[in-house]
């Protein structure tokens, strides 16, 4: 699954990253997979939220088949 990245993660890793997810997964699995590939960003990922289909996702189980888009949301800083 292609995961969208933003802010410092997009600039340093790229605007998307491919992550293998099980047919049933938790949002925290997505962060863990990115952390495993890029341990340098553990601190940023720890502070980040996961958005599934453009909504902030609680860390509950999702079915991959029901999901269109996943994004990592680092701490926001608009305004």
């Amino acid at each position: 699954m292609k995961i969208k990245l933003f802010s410092i993660l997009a600039e340093e890793i790229g605007s998307t990253i491919n992550v293998d997810l099980k047919s049933e997964f938790y949002p925290s699995d997505v962060k863990k997979a990115i952390e495993d590939a890029h341990p340098k960003y553990k601190e940023v990922l720890d502070q980040s939220l996961v958005a599934i289909d453009e909504e902030y996702a609680d860390d509950k189980q999702f079915k991959l088949a029901d999901v269109t888009e996943i994004a990592i949301i680092p701490p926001v800083s608009g305004g």
């Binding site: 802010s7 994004a71 800083s77 608009g78």
Partner: protein, 135 residues
Amino acid sequence: MKIQITHEPINTEELTKSLIHNEYGGVDIFIGNIRQFTGDIETEKIEYTTYKQMAEKEMQKLADKVIAKGMDVVMVHRVGELQLGDIAVFIGVAAPHRAEAFENCQFLIDELKHTVPIWKKEYDRDKIRWGGLED
């Protein structure tokens, strides 16, 4: 009601006029612009990026809470590279009375800063800082 993320400069006069209606007696506006100094740190420019579709959805959710109370709302955030003095955000609330206008305008800008996926990359004289993250 207007919710928008834009690359273009924000036209404050036009947005303000759009909030003037006969049923509302007060309009409160918050304008956020690029500040030069934060303590000893001197900022040269800020680059804003966004997850646009989600950001506009999150802004809409906030606006809906205020609109449900019988007010009108404008929320516009600019993204891209902004220079000192450029306007980054415009929040306007039109309400029957001023107290509600003040209160809800503050609510919208405070919540925008917490929930709307927009990020700043601050080019300071000493180094680059990413908003929201510890140095």
